[in-house]
Symmetry: C2
Subunit: 326 residues, 2 copies
């Protein structure tokens, strides 16, 4: 398509546009099929990008389409990924799913101290794709049924309140309880589904030990449908927490290949030198490689437009550039 | 105490007897603190032996004491261990616990084809003693509460019926579902409790794969508060099932150190030679040592009297024999 105006907007009649076919090229900078919502990010980008290409009215107040309802057909997490900040998915009650959508609880500037460490435990393909796993759990787990009917709504309300009040203690506790209960329901499925491995459990123990050392919940793990951990905390904890994690999960090789923020790692590394505080002792140091990568990150945005120089399609041919640097 | 008649029975007046102190020596031939009910067996023996020493009337129909109610103070499993065959623990409703007792569902001759393989995964001490773990779960797991109130009673009824009808398919399915749900509730506790490890999960997968190969539930795993598996099956499955397990979990050393029934192992070992059926392929062979021992067993008795030659106390001194062969 080459009918753009000077600002890059499409200048084609709506009727004509809807008949256009598109070529899609996508690139993913995150571990795939590892339970880190890579497919959700992909679906969200796809829906967002197509809405731009086809000039879709997405302003709900002006009769437009709620893109999160469209993305929801990819997955529930995909609908959430269209917003930045803190987002919830409201599953809705209609059979046609048209009221199943994402709602922003708070924007990304609401809780700027909130940060996360993502510990990549295993980048190999997982046994059970998450959507398929969830369908099996819905069909066979009596605990999941109880959880959905009796537990989730109240906890959602509590965690939403905690986010609005920036109450980390409550946010952290519910986050961990929800993670554990989700995996409990996977285990209650028949046959059972296991997403976490020994390293995941070790990280869970480390976080509980860290909180016991602090005398309060200062860090909170959560595991999606895979063994990788996301650990939330407020900025002030970053160095001590990372120092403890680096002690238990020493880098595989060069620190700059191991973690995306070498400066933080460098500042952390001597915090507990020459030895750990008593309350943090007793966790066995894991062999290098148990954790393969650590990503230090914070609350982000939803999909955004990139400059045309980042385009993956060659504008002169419409075909993908040769894949480089892979 | 030396006031025995010729048959070994105590000949002391009841009033005098109750003031006697006792010296107890005990020996355990089973892995301890590994989630294999070793403490239950110990409590049951202790209660049984003391009832003999103190000449307790244990005939409930004649106003005697129900020993299972006494053993229950050790643990729920201890009360079950006083009977052979298939036994259930009825928790009762009284606050004083005096109606919390064990009831035999079927005696050991009822289902003679029923056998088991116990796979010892790890004999090291476990993180969380089971009684303490259960108290934490009761206090913190909403799923355990639901399980206790809404799920267990119905499943108990179903499995009791399955045992009475020798319906392995139903027995096996409920056994596996109950095991999974128990461990799900451990995971739903806060902090979460993990009893199973990677090898435990591998055994679970192997059993599901074996059943898929057979097109029916022919083997059923269960895990108590530890990583060791008990796999139930009917005798006809023993060789094929063991052959498959020996393939995935090769012996650590000499086969006679690895399994207590070398004959069965020898007969099994060539069953799938030169190669496994297609339906049993795809499980990675585990390093030697993942399973350290296999015990082949069947439905047993409760506590029994041993000949005095097996006594652990020296009758001439009343003190324990020097511990030998340890």
């Amino acid at each position: 398509m080459d009918k753009f105006d000077s600002s890059g907007k499409v200048m084609i009649k709506k009727e004509e546009l809807s008949t256009y076919k598109v070529r899609i090229a996508s690139k993913n900078s995150f571990p795939t099929a590892a339970g880190l919502a890579s497919s959700a990010a992909g679906y969200a980008c796809l829906v967002y990008a197509l809405s731009k290409v086809f000039n879709v009215n997405t302003d709900v107040r002006k009769g437009g389409i709620d893109l999160t309802v469209v993305a929801r057909q990819g997955s529930g997490s995909a609908s959430r990924s269209l917003y930045g900040g803190f987002v919830k998915w409201e599953k809705g009650v209609q059979a046609d799913g048209l009221d199943s959508k994402a709602v922003q609880v708070a924007d990304r500037d609401h809780w700027p101290e909130m940060e996360a460490l993502i510990l990549i435990v295993c980048e190999s393909e997982k046994d059970t794709p998450s959507t398929q796993g969830m369908q099996n759990s819905v069909a066979t787990s009596p605990l999941l049924k109880h959880r959905a009917e009796q537990i989730v709504a109240e906890r959602m309300e509590q965690i939403e309140k905690a986010i609005k009040e920036r109450d980390f203690e409550t946010f952290g506790k519910i986050t961990m309880q929800e993670s554990n209960q989700f995996h409990a329901c996977c285990l209650d499925s028949f046959p059972p589904i296991f997403y976490m491995n020994e390293t995941s459990k070790m990280i869970i123990k480390a976080v509980h030990m860290y909180n016991a050392y602090k005398g309060a919940i200062r860090a909170a793990y959560t595991y999606d449908a895979g063994p990788n951990a996301v650990i939330y905390f407020e900025r002030g904890e970053a160095k001590e927490l990372l120092a403890f994690l680096l002690h238990i999960f020493p880098p595989t090789s060069n620190i700059s290949d191991y973690i995306n923020d070498v400066e933080l790692a460098t500042e952390s590394v001597n915090i507990f030198s020459p030895r750990l505080p008593e309350a943090l002792q007793g966790m066995p140091v894991q062999g290098a490689g148990a954790v393969s990568k650590i990503i230090y990150t914070s609350v982000g945005t939803g999909p955004c437009d990139l400059p045309t120089s980042d385009c993956l399609l060659d504008p002169s041919t419409g075909k993908p550039f040769e894949v480089r640097n892979q």
